[in-house]
Amino acid sequence: MTVNGQERTGEVEPRTLLVHFLRDNLGLTGTHVGCDTSQCGACVVTVGGKTTKSCTMFAVQADGAEVQTIEGLAQDGAYHPVQEGFWEKHGLQCGYCTPGMIMSSVALLKRNPNPTEEEIRHELEGNICRCTGYENIVRSVQYAAEKMREGAAS
């Protein structure tokens, strides 16, 4: 599979989850394991452009696919606007849910570049923040949305 633009290969059992392949075989530990039961969203990546809980996909299903993880989001040393938003608006406390929150936020802004607060909360339902820092997470996404709209307009 192609991970963050690089060709990566490995031999795994069919039952190996994508998240374990990314972390254990490729050393990409930015993708976290939280609940392990498809609820918390700490492991969100994109596979073939689709937002994906990598604990709910076997690595073999992603064979040949393009995968993007949190490590592949910044381009040429510059943070993605969503990463910048989480920095500027204090969208993280302990940071455990943050990689998944950011990856899900990028996906939600791709579907809906101008979301309302309610839409942001609805689309992030699959991501749980144990610090309950949702207020600032929503502000971070709003910051990124504005920044991306400005970028698109200019």
Binding site: P14, V60, Q61, L108, G126
Partner: protein
């Protein structure tokens, strides 16, 4: 968390998938995987083999015909919701998809997979029952159409045979009909404690035909025929609907559990049926 060991293969065509299924009686078909994989991780399901349908082009695509909408087996929830033609003729599909699971489930989950799985609290089982149509399956004995009215049998059980695969689902169009889905979601899981879908064809302001279906309340999604009959030939107004939903659960076995008692679920059926029929939020 690791599931029990299994072998994995990708089928290149429907015929190839059928052949693989016959070689492995212990195999399961893998579509979006967002019900099956969590169940495998908990070892509630331990298939010896998975046959992945992702590489079969003939299972992709949606066709909007004059009388029906055909959705092929590997079409995801978001592909249905984002299809402008489907949204125009069957807006209830997009409405219900918007409240399924989370954005990752909507990105990967498939309609055909949800119907084959037949979770008692799934959203789209009620929606497709309210629309009416058929499931097209292919198996060792050839192809057949199964009417949606006969498809859902019991808890996680459908009329599909173990060696059959769904190729597509055909849903009836109801142009000009009033249609809506209303759900009381479990606050943690997001599954329907109760959900009600209604599709009402009107003629000259009166109800020509009503199809109303419930999910979450019983072992499997089921039609609320008491409401359908009570609405026949009447105007779809507040008073008629209030009367019609009063006996909504007649003849239906309602389940209770630690989240919602039998009487609470029966109450929700009435409340949500009223909201769906009148198209209101409260």
């Amino acid at each position: 968390m690791f599931p029990a060991p299994f072998t994995y293969s990708r089928a290149s065509s429907v015929q190839d998938a059928l052949a693989k299924l016959q070689e492995n009686p212990d195999a399961k078909i893998l579509a979006g995987g967002h019900s099956l994989i969590p169940a495998m991780k908990l070892r509630l399901a331990m298939p010896g083999a998975l046959i992945d349908l992702r590489d079969i082009p003939e299972l992709r695509g949606i066709e909007v015909g004059d009388d029906t909408v055909t959705i092929r087996a590997m079409v995801t929830y978001n592909e249905i919701r984002d299809n402008a033609e489907v949204s125009a003729v069957l807006p209830i599909l997009g409405e219900a998809i918007g409240v399924i699971g989370d954005q990752q489930v909507r990105e990967h989950g498939t309609l055909a997979g949800a119907l084959a799985h037949n979770d008692p609290a799934a959203d789209l089982t009620a929606v497709v029952l309210a629309l009416g149509g058929s499931v097209h399956a292919v198996g060792p004995n050839g192809e057949r159409d199964i009417s949606l009215d006969e498809f859902f049998v019991d808890l996680w059980t459908t009329a599909l045979e173990p060696e059959e695969i769904i190729t597509h689902v055909t849903l009836n169009r109801h142009d000009g009909a009033s249609m809506a889905y209303r759900k009381f979601a479990h606050p943690a899981s997001g599954y329907a404690v109760v959900g009600v879908a209604s599709v009402v064809d009107l003629e000259g302001g009166n109800v020509a035909s009503a199809r109303v279906a419930v999910t979450g309340a019983s072992n499997t999604a089921t039609r609320l025929t008491a409401i359908e009959e009570a609405l026949a030939d009447k105007a779809l107004d507040e008073a008629t609907v209030a009367d019609a939903v009063a006996n909504a659960t007649d003849g239906i076995s309602i389940n209770g559990d630690e989240f919602a008692s039998e009487s609470y679920r029966a109450h929700l059926v009435q409340v949500l049926a009223r909201r769906a029929l009148l198209g209101t939020q409260v």
